[in-house]
């Protein structure tokens, strides 16, 4: 059953169209993550769901109820704002309990919930501080706390972890995932950090310029991106894109470009045979390069001119050239390896992607 459903929702600010037409259905109890580059309309989408921004056209359903015209209060939603939006005249406890106090909940219940949230967010020592006396990360946690004390049907998070340091961020990620398991509530989480998206999401919604590019599980969007944008956005470091031609060399389908010639994997044989496209873009993920041919998979040799090899522990990050085109690769060579040199590297052709160069759609 869909928990939150957007049907043909469009949004314009004056004459600038920010979201052309958006259809999205988020299941009840699902953890959906919206990712996309800055300015693609993520916050706007959240604000329309919670009712702070009216839709220009289309309709929104929450719990099978049409709430398109309903006030935020009537939507049973909690939201964490991208800018925190803490009440500066209330202390941390006051901020967190505001919604509960407005709802007239009993004192003991409020205290219990606030204490619980404070504990979860490591804010117990700060309950009586004002927001101005908190660090950025602490403020962000208060903003989180303010929403999770509530018993809302749906939770919206607008980049709630962006100001935390790496350690706190990953522990908060875990806490949130746990919280989601406990509460079993629908959660919509906005981020432009794709690691966050991959690790937390039941389903990822990838947006660009107000349009949904793909919706799927983390595995789906990583292994079968629908188009070049999704392929480039998901995965870190991001996928290499090289111009190439599809060719039929005496019955063998290959993709050929500057400095490389790769066989088409079985996975794509059918599509390539059926297409009329010849000008294409090859997508190679950096993590699918290997330094040695250990005989596994369908490895094809590629000659890389390594410009820089960066040591990142057990692997190395290579900024290199393949022919004239720049590529990046991460090769797993162990922590004791010397900096990698130019030479033969191997690519697992089973993991190769092809895109129509004109439309950007995956073949």
């Amino acid at each position: 059953m869909p928990g939150v459903e957007l049907i043909d929702v469009a949004k314009s600010f004056g004459s600038t169209e920010v979201i052309p037409k958006l259809n999205l259905s988020i299941d009840e109890g699902e953890f959906a993550v919206i990712v996309g580059p800055s300015g693609c309309g993520k916050s706007t989408t959240l604000r329309m769901i919670c009712g702070l921004e009216p839709v220009t056209s289309g309709s929104i359903f929450i719990k099978d109820r049409n709430v398109t015209k309903a006030a935020p209060k009537a939507r049973d939603i909690a939201m964490v704002f991208q800018s925190y939006a803490l009440y500066p005249h209330m202390d941390v406890a006051g901020n967190m309990s505001f919604a509960l106090r407005l709802a007239g909940r009993p004192k003991e219940e409020i205290k219990r919930r606030v204490d619980h949230a404070a504990q979860l967010l490591e804010l117990t020592d700060y309950l009586h501080r004002k927001p101005r006396d908190l660090s950025g990360g602490q403020r962000q946690r208060v903003a989180m706390g303010r929403s999770i004390v509530r018993d809302a049907y749906c939770f919206l998070f607008d980049e709630p972890l962006s100001n935390l340091d790496a350690k706190l961020r990953s522990s908060m990620r875990t806490e949130l995932a746990l919280l989601h398991k406990q509460l079993e509530r629908t959660m919509v989480y906005v981020t432009h950090d794709q690691i966050e998206a991959m690790t937390m999401a039941d389903r990822i919604v990838i947006m660009d310029q107000g349009e949904i590019q793909q919706v799927g599980t983390p595995r789906e969007v990583y292994t079968s991106p629908r188009n070049r944008f999704v392929a480039g956005f998901i995965g870190s470091p991001s996928m290499n894109f090289l111009d190439a031609q599809l060719q039929d060399e005496r019955g063998e389908l290959v993709v050929r470009g500057d400095g490389f010639r790769l066989p088409i994997p079985d996975r794509l044989q059918q599509q390539v045979q059926n297409t009329t496209v010849t000008e294409c873009t090859v997508g190679l993920r950096p993590e699918h390069f290997f330094a040695r041919n250990d005989g596994s998979g369908n490895l094809a040799a590629l000659k890389l001119n390594v410009d820089v090899a960066e040591y990142i522990g057990s692997s190395q990050f290579l900024a290199a050239h393949l022919g004239e085109q720049a590529v990046t690769a991460t090769v797993d060579v162990g922590p004791d390896a010397e900096p990698m040199q130019s030479g033969e590297y191997y690519f697992d052709t089973n993991r190769l992607y092809l895109f129509d160069r004109r439309t950007g759609m995956a073949l």
Binding site: K73, F81, S83, Y84, L102
Partner: protein, 278 residues
């Protein structure tokens, strides 16, 4: 550099300047207060006596005992309090609308309100008088309240507009999502943050309404006089009754002083600090 800033000579020079300024400000007030406790013989003595004279309460007894001092005091309080309240209420609403609503030329409107303020009240006195006579509503405190409110609104709007602009709109949105009704948003989120703004606007408005003379002189009668007008009654055909005027002046100063003292305690700097990402 910091050495230079904090050198004893510099500090001393600062304090000397401050003392001179303070004396310049306080001297007229001292003249007023001291004169109010003098009898005419001391006042009109050849050379001014600053500190050493035998104080007398005669002037106070006269103004409070005779005439209708209590009546005028009540008039003044009603006019100042009600017009200040109305100004803050209406001005706050206007300022809020200007700060939040999106419409063409709102910045112009916001600043234009200040231009209206540039017109001196004296210029408006005659048209106001004509209007009041035409409508036959003179000698009514409500009329005075109306004019003071109108007179003070532009400045209050402009001032409060600036304060409202500083409150991030996300705070209101957060409160709305937290389930607050419009009134709750106002009283529990906006008003606590606007305290400083309303206090500043209130101080200015109250002071102007309390002290205004020309309109009050033209628009009030025997029973509706305010204190400044009553004070001018001591400029008589037979001469100026300095002692009584000064006693009146001293009493007139007290309420706005109390009001300012109370209101100023609401002014806190940096109220919205920490609300949103820097």
């Amino acid at each position: 550099m910091s050495n230079q800033l904090h050198s004893p000579w510099r500090v001393m020079a600062h304090y000397v300047c401050l003392c001179l300024l303070a004396i310049a400000c306080l001297m007229p007030i001292w003249v007023m207060i001291s004169t109010s406790f003098k009898d005419d013989i001391v006042i009109f003595d050849g050379k001014p006596i600053w500190f050493f004279f035998v104080p007398t309460m005669d002037n106070y007894e006269y103004i409070v005992g005779r005439g209708k001092f209590d009546r005028y005091l009540v008039n003044s309080v009603i006019v100042a309090v009600v017009s200040t309240f109305l100004t803050l209420l209406l001005g706050g609403l206007c300022a809020y609308a200007l700060a939040r609503a999106e419409f063409k030329g709102r910045r112009f409107v916001a600043n234009a309100t200040l231009l209206v303020r540039m017109v001196p009240p004296a210029v408006l006195a005659v048209p106001a008088f004509a209007m009041v006579i035409f409508l036959n509503v003179n000698n009514d405190l409500l009329v005075l309240i109306f004019f003071y409110t109108a007179l003070n609104l532009p400045f209050a709007i402009w001032l409060l507009f600036g304060f409202y602009k500083q409150i991030p709109v996300e705070l209101e949105e957060a409160a709305i999502v937290d389930g607050a009704s419009p009134l709750q948003v106002f009283f529990r989120v906006l008003l606590p943050l606007m305290k400083s703004g309303y206090a500043v606007a209130g101080i200015f408005t109250f002071r102007i309404a309390w002290n205004e003379f020309i309109l009050a002189l033209l628009l009030t009668g025997r029973n509706t006089r305010t204190l400044p007008v009553a004070a001018s009654g001591f400029l008589t055909d037979t001469g100026v009754e300095w002692g009584r005027i000064m006693a009146m002046g001293t009493l007139i100063v007290i309420p706005p002083l109390l009001f300012t003292f109370f209101a100023a305690r609401q002014i806190i700097a940096g109220m919205t600090a920490g609300a949103v990402k820097g």
